[in-house]
Every structure is written in structure tokens, then in C-alpha cells.
């Protein structure tokens, strides 16, 4: 498995979209929510109940299903389903955490960059471009070296890498909104900059931003799996799906469940949030909401 090398897309508002039927729109959103909810429920359940202890190795090595082990055990005799559940929790945490970091740092930087002028504007833009070109993996290794291989290190690294993408997007969006007449109109009536940003700028970039953040969530989950696969994620006994994949790799031909199960859940979660992003794009985009001009 290769690390998803940050093909972090920027979403542009699709202004000339053919109108999507309301039903198809909500179908996409529903499908996405259902898939995502499945994983989120697993993650929540893992907080209060697990079939086995995470370090319970009493199951016999690479056993098939049975004896309380829903999906069998891994090569150390640990219950696979238990690991999948904690893996779900880690995936959701990684996604939420990274997106939170990316949103906080990215929006702040992006808004500042949009307001900056002259050399500061150029410097910030160049800084963001460099940060975007910087591989997530390398950044993660730096963060791990500076701290330690924990889930929060991974979240920090992924979140920081993504914040550059978010910041660049926010910078463009804010600049575009700032040039609009309604911002000038608000300013002429004596609205201060902070209030203008909070009241007019952020709400108007929100639809595009939230879709992008949903996409970033999916990418963050993949990135965390990649880091864990390389041993840079959450340490044992917290089973991340990425580490499960790595551990099951050697025994894939004899016991494929160990690799298939986390792989499938990973796909379910990522496809789920991408469908949500797609559905949100159609429902939130002011261009499709705004019919008459």
C-alpha cells in the first residue's frame, strides 16, 4: 500500500451546474451518511464495549471464526473484530482531529492571507505553496521525530499538511467575497472588519469550505492508515486499520480476512464521507439554490 501522496483537491463552486434533482441529491447524502454512520457506530460502541480485550491473545493464532471470535484472530491470537472496532475509533478520531486542525489553522491563515497586501501577501502565498508541495509523509516523520509515534502526532502532521490546502482555498474564496458589493455595502454602513468577516465572508465561503473539509476528512483517514502502515501512527495495542493491514500482509494468502476486513471498512468510511461531500456540494451550493437572478 502506498501513502496517499496528498492529491488534496481544491473544490471550486460549480456555478454552471445543471440543476440536480432534489431526490438524487438527497440519495447521495443519505448513502454517504449511512455508510459513515456504520463506522461511527462501531467507533462509539468501542468506547463502551469490546468483545475482547485489545491485548487478549488467548484466541489461538490465525484462528477462523468461532468461539466468540466473529471474524477469527490474527497471528498473535487477538480478536480481529475487536481490532476493527478500535480501528474504527482511531480512523474517526484521525479524520475529525486532522480536519479540526486543518480548519482552525487553515481558515485563520487563509483569512489573514486574503487581507495581507504587498510583500506579506506574496510571502504567505509562497509559504502555503511550499507547505502544499511538502510531502505529508516527510512532515509526519518530522513531527514523529520531534514528539513520538502517537495518534496525536499523526493527527497533528496530517492536519498541518492539510491546513495549507485549506488556507490556500480560503484565501482565494475570501478574496473573491471581499471584492463583492455587499461587503462594501456592509462596510459603508460602518460594519467593522471582524464583524464583516464573521457575518458576511465566512457564511458565503462556508458551502465550498465545508465540502472541502468533508473531502479532507476522507483523505485524513487514508493518510492515517498510511502512517500506521509505516509504523508512524498509533502504537500497539491500539489497532489502527493501517497497522492491521501491514500485520496481515504476510499471511494474506492463508488468512485473507485480516487484511480484507480493515481494507473494506477503510473503503466504506472514505466512500461514505466522499458521498457526503458530494451531497453537500449539491445542497449547499448557493449557485444551485439561487435560481432566479
Amino acid at each position: 500500500m502506498t501513502l496517499p501522496a496528498a492529491p488534496l483537491k481544491e473544490t471550486e463552486p460549480t456555478e454552471s451546474n445543471a440543476p440536480v434533482s432534489r431526490r438524487r441529491r438527497s440519495a447521495t447524502l443519505w448513502a454517504g451518511c449511512s455508510l459513515t454512520a456504520l463506522i461511527v457506530l462501531l467507533a462509539l460502541l468501542s468506547l463502551v464495549w469490546l468483545p475482547f480485550d485489545t491485548d487478549d491473545t488467548s484466541g489461538g493464532r490465525l484462528a477462523g471464526p468461532g468461539d466468540g471470535h466473529l471474524l477469527g484472530t490474527d497471528k498473535l491470537g487477538r480478536d480481529l473484530f475487536t481490532q476493527l472496532m478500535t480501528g474504527a475509533r482511531i480512523a474517526v478520531q484521525a479524520g475529525l482531529g486532522s480536519v479540526a486542525v486543518a480548519a482552525l489553522v487553515g481558515v485563520t491563515l487563509g483569512v489573514l492571507a486574503a487581507f495581507a497586501q504587498g510583500w506579506l501577501d506574496d510571502t504567505l502565498a509562497a509559504f502555503l505553496d511550499i507547505l502544499i508541495a511538502f510531502p505529508t509523509l516527510l512532515l509526519a516523520m518530522l513531527v514523529v521525530a520531534a514528539r513520538s509515534a502517537t495518534l496525536s502526532s499523526a493527527i497533528l502532521a496530517i492536519g498541518l499538511a492539510q491546513s495549507a490546502v485549506v488556507a490556500r482555498l480560503v484565501r482565494i474564496l475570501v478574496k473573491r467575497v471581499l471584492a463583492r458589493d455587499y461587503v462594501t455595502a456592509a462596510r459603508t454602513s460602518g460594519t467593522s472588519w471582524p464583524r464583516t468577516v464573521a457575518g458576511h465572508v465566512l457564511p458565503n465561503i462556508w458551502p465550498t469550505l465545508v465540502v472541502n473539509l468533508a473531502l479532507q476528512f476522507g483523505l485524513a483517514v487514508l493518510a492515517e492508515a498510511g502512517l500506521s502502515y509505516l509504523g508512524l501512527g498509533a502504537p500497539p495495542p491500539n489497532a489502527s486499520w493501517g497497522r492491521m493491514l501491514q500485520e496481515a500482509q504476510a499471511t494474506f494468502t492463508t488468512a485473507p480476512a485480516g487484511a480484507l476486513a480493515p481494507g473494506i471498512l477503510l473503503v466504506v468510511l472514505v466512500v461514505g464521507v466522499n458521498l457526503i461531500a458530494d451531497g453537500l456540494r449539491d445542497t449547499l451550493d448557493p449557485a444551485t439554490r439561487r435560481r432566479r437572478t
Binding site: 497586501q117 455595502a185 462596510r187 459603508t188 454602513s189 460602518g190 458576511h200 458565503n204
Partner: protein
């Protein structure tokens, strides 16, 4: 007092004093060139000129809101505050209180994602300090005052859900909500059809007289300007070519350019007949 006589107005306190206002782009183009004029409190001045003559930029410069890449020099004194080169904080205090703007294009001047009621409530709350239900009824009142017949529906509507004429009334209500000393109207009727245009002018005229508000009325249409102002300043390529009482300028234009403008003024005669008596 005859409508021709503006001595009453010009003898009032000077609300806006513009001296040598010049707007330059960073690459050196001069878009507004050495413009000087005054507006006394309660006076109504028309700013007229063809498209691209710098009217909108002048209004923006008056409030220190020029687009990026442009700088103003000279002096703009609004209610005693120097606007040119003033720090943002002082400008924020002046805007709305001393001067508010109704923009040329009402659709783009309203936030597409904010209900009309909230857009009016914002300046209203800032000025009056009202909250909650009292604020809501003040908003409704503001909408009624600009003669909108369904104030409650319009307060809940988004800009794309109401007509162009209704939008422009909302924009006017927003500007009036600030209760400014000077109302700057940048071609507030250009985007409207002729019948709505007449209603809008009438409304603006009435409201402004009621409040004894000073007006800077921008237009390329001499007939429109003649209807709602006392004095007029003619702008060409960013430079003032003529200034004087509106009827003098209309009946005896001095500058070549104004003469052409007067000749071309659409239905000027009928517009002058419409001019409401004082």
C-alpha cells in the same frame, strides 16, 4: 422659497468638504482629477457624468473604501473628520453615522445568503442598541417606511426571492437605518424600469426631505438628477467641468460637454414638469 434658490442650503453647516480629491491607480492612471465640492447639511447635490467618468469611485473615496490598488490624495472632510489617510477605526465610526450609500446594483449589494431582515437589523441594532422583538418591529417599520407592502415576507426573504425594485427599497432601508447625515445614492434607479424608477425617486425624495438629510445623488441621467437635487456637479473623465444650481445648468449650460448632455437628456422637459414643488 423658490426651488431655484439654494442660498438657504449653502448657508447651512458644511457637512462634506472635498478639496482636490484625486484618485490614482498604482500604475499611475488618474481616475478622479482634482475634484472639489461641498455639501451643506440638508443640501442635495447631484453628481452627473457619463459611464466611466469616475462617479462611483468618487463616492467610494468619500468613505475611504477605494478598491485595492488605488489611492486617494487631497482632502475629504466628512462631518469634521478627515477621511483621506484616516485609520480604519476612525473610518468605521464615520461610515453609516455620517454617510451611508445606496449602491448602483441592488442585487450584488445585498448578501445572497442573508435574509433581508437581518441585513437591515445589523446597522439598526448598531445605531439604536435595540434587541430581540423590539429590533424586529423596528425592522418591519423600516420596511414599511420604504413603502414595501409585505414587510414580514420580505424580512424573511433572501435577495433572490424578491424583485429588483423591492431589493432597491431594501437597500434604501438599510442605508436609512443608519440615519446618516449624508445619503450617497449611486445611480439607485439605473437598474430599474421606468415606472419603478419614478416611484423610487419619489420615495427617496420624500424620505430625504422628511429627515432633512443631505444627499449626494449620482447619475448619468440629467432628468433624474434634476428631479431630486438642488445643485449639480458635472463630471467628465474624472474632472469637474461645470457646477451650479440644477436649473441654471439645465437651462444655460456653459461647458460644451454639459450642452451635449442637456441636448441628449431623455425626456428632460417632462421630468422638469414632474419636479415636485417645495
Amino acid at each position: 422659497m423658490s426651488p431655484r434658490d439654494t442660498s438657504f442650503h449653502t448657508s447651512g453647516d458644511t457637512l462634506l468638504d472635498v478639496r482636490g480629491l484625486t484618485v490614482r491607480t498604482d500604475d499611475g492612471r488618474v481616475l478622479v482629477d482634482d475634484l472639489s465640492f461641498t455639501v451643506a447639511s440638508g443640501e442635495r447635490l447631484g453628481l452627473i457624468g457619463e459611464s466611466g467618468s469616475g462617479k462611483s469611485l468618487t463616492t467610494l473615496a468619500l468613505l475611504g473604501l477605494l478598491p485595492d490598488g488605488m489611492t486617494a490624495t487631497g482632502s475629504v472632510e466628512l462631518a469634521g473628520t478627515q477621511v483621506v489617510g484616516a485609520p480604519e477605526k476612525r473610518l468605521t465610526a464615520v461610515r453609516g453615522r455620517d454617510a451611508a450609500v445606496v449602491f448602483q446594483e441592488p442585487l450584488t449589494a445585498l448578501d445572497p445568503l442573508m435574509r433581508m431582515g437581518r441585513q437591515i437589523a445589523e446597522p439598526l441594532a448598531r445605531r439604536t442598541g435595540l434587541r430581540g422583538r423590539e429590533l424586529n418591529s423596528a425592522v418591519t417599520e423600516a420596511l414599511v417606511r420604504v413603502r414595501l407592502s409585505e414587510p414580514d415576507r420580505i424580512a424573511r426573504a433572501f435577495p433572490h426571492e424578491i424583485s429588483g425594485g423591492q431589493r432597491q427599497r431594501v437597500a434604501l432601508a438599510m442605508a436609512l437605518a443608519c440615519d446618516p447625515g449624508l445619503l450617497i445614492a449611486d445611480e439607485p434607479t439605473t437598474a430599474l424600469d421606468v415606472s419603478v424608477q419614478a416611484e423610487m425617486l419619489d420615495l427617496l425624495d420624500t424620505l430625504v426631505r422628511e429627515r432633512e438629510m443631505a444627499v449626494l445623488f449620482v447619475s448619468h441621467d440629467l432628468a433624474v438628477v434634476a428631479k431630486v437635487t438642488d445643485r449639480v456637479l458635472v463630471l467628465k473623465d474624472g474632472r469637474a467641468v461645470e457646477e451650479g444650481p440644477v436649473l441654471d445648468v439645465v437651462t444655460a449650460p456653459r461647458a460644451e460637454y454639459t450642452r451635449a448632455l442637456v441636448a441628449g437628456a431623455r425626456k428632460l422637459e417632462s421630468a422638469l414638469d414632474l419636479r415636485s414643488p417645495r
